[in-house]
Amino acid sequence: MIRVVLPTHLRTLAHIDGEVKLEVEGQVTQCSVLDALEARYPVLRGTIRDHVTEQRRPFVRFFACEQDLSHQPPDAPLPDAVATGVEPFLVVGAIAGG
């Protein structure tokens, strides 16, 4: 079970309270987690990564285990602690401009 924490605006948009818990088949990566997230909450498609290129939006960051994973390849495995549900995968609105 993967735990995902979304920023307030996206929780409001998708009518989510608290953490999201997702089942992810296969390797747990940014890409597979976001695929599962967008499948569960289609309204989030386009809000975290681009519709076409699937690149992370510039002011969105991915944190986990006190690391900034934003610049990791989308297909890179996420830390074991995220894959096993010990730690959440954090989607964060960048501080820039806020």
Binding site: V43, R45, T47
Partner: protein, 392 residues
């Protein structure tokens, strides 16, 4: 008795202001989409309870919202699931993808960047939503980088009318200071196949075949800030307005200059007349008097506030040239707000109501065609857009 509903888009959400026909007491609801920029929201003339809104964010991109109950509740219509064989379900959400297919004309890939080089078109946000005059399920979207999209399924999916970018001058378009936005969409009420649009900083364009082909309509515009002041494209048009009884007569607030066309935009002439400055953003037409028009002069393009710190609406009852300052109820000292391009509208009650919003968060209303004004609200976030619905 008739009612009015004022739809206000702001930097931090949308607000709906409602009143009866007297327009004295107002009920304020909102913020809707709290914390998100709401560039524009507008109701369908064919079904006034059908509203569309553009909710946008520098962080999280573009969301289209739709209401079927006059703004009491909202839903994101693009949030449906799609299935691709062999793959897991995908959400479509609010997808604005530029059309680059050969069938619709290519290359549609670049426009002029600030440094003169060519730059790829990149979708940023929806500036303006224009519902069809007859079909509540059809709505047009003017977007940045400039393009026109249309949805025929209540805002769920969007297709570009690519003939606009593909007609030939697209590579010459370049962004104004506020971005290269398609901000004005006017549908001819007597001929739905005729649509006018305006882009900053490319100019005005018209289609006579429902969006398949387009032509620039900028002859007569003169802009000193571009290399050829009389160029076919490159003019920073801020807003266009028409009266439904005479859709060939257009009024334009350009970056500088207030302009008028008698021939559906084929030619323009200046009607700035005695305005204290002819820079500004908004322009609108009285609901019942097609020669009565309104502007809000702004000091200059580098000083986006009213001249002398006095907030004045100017009204012409002669279709331009002769202007009268309307000041009653408006601040006449120390006022340094701006009134942005989509932030003025009129209702169609017997005594025409005029409304505008400011970057200071005020929405002013006049129930007597501009003779006197009063704020409906004073302390909203900066106002980006104002639309009005006149309801039975």
């Amino acid at each position: 008795m008739s009612r009015v509903r004022v739809l206000v888009g702001t930097r931090k959400g949308a607000f709906i202001l409602a009143s009866d026909g007297k327009r004295e007491k107002w009920n304020v609801s909102g913020p809707h989409f709290a914390g998100w920029e709401t560039y524009h929201l507008k109701g369908s003339p064919a079904d006034p309870n059908r509203l569309y809104a553009s909710q946008t964010s520098g962080w999280f991109g573009q969301i289209i919202q739709r209401s079927s109950d006059g703004g009491k509740t909202w839903e994101a219509p693009g949030g449906g699931m799609t299935m691709v064989p062999g793959e897991m379900p995908r959400g479509e959400s609010n997808k604005f993808v530029y059309d680059t297919t050969p069938e619709t004309g290519k290359p549609l890939t670049t426009h002029q960047w600030y440094d003169g080089t060519q730059h790829p078109w990149e979708f940023k946000r929806v500036w303006h939503l224009e519902p069809s005059l007859t079909d509540p399920n059809t709505v047009y979207a003017g977007v940045e980088d400039a393009a026109l999209f249309r949805s025929t399924d209540r805002g769920q999916t969007w297709q570009e009318l690519a003939g606009l970018r593909g007609h030939g001058t697209g590579p010459k378009w370049q962004a104004g200071a506020g971005g290269m936005c398609l901000h004005t969409i006017l549908i001819d009420p007597s001929n739905p196949a005729r649509i006018y649009i305006a882009i900053s900083a490319a100019g005005a364009f018209r289609t006579d075949d429902a969006g398949k082909t387009w032509k620039p309509i900028n002859r007569g515009l003169k802009s000193q800030y571009i290399p050829d002041p009389n160029a076919e494209v490159g003019h920073c048009v801020h807003r266009i307005a028409l009266h439904r009884s005479r859709p060939n007569v257009l009024f334009m607030q350009k970056h500088w200059d207030v302009m008028r066309s008698e021939d559906a935009g084929d030619s323009w002439h200046e009607v700035s007349g005695n305005l204290p400055t002819d820079f500004g953003f908004v322009i609108d037409v009285h609901a019942h008097e097609p020669e009565t028009i309104y502007v809000v002069p702004i000091k200059s393009d580098s000083e986006h506030y009213p001249p002398e710190g006095k907030l004045r609406v100017y009204r012409s009852r002669t279709g331009g040239n002769e202007w009268q300052a309307l000041t009653k109820g408006l601040p006449q000292r120390d006022c340094y707000v701006n009134v942005l391009r989509d932030a003025m509208a009129v209702d169609s009650l017997d005594s025409c109501g005029v409304y505008f919003g400011t970057t200071g968060g005020q929405v002013y209303a006049s129930a007597d065609a501009g003779d006197s004004w009063a704020p409906i609200v004073r302390d909203l976030p900066a106002v980006l857009s104002v639309e009005v619905q006149t309801l039975p």
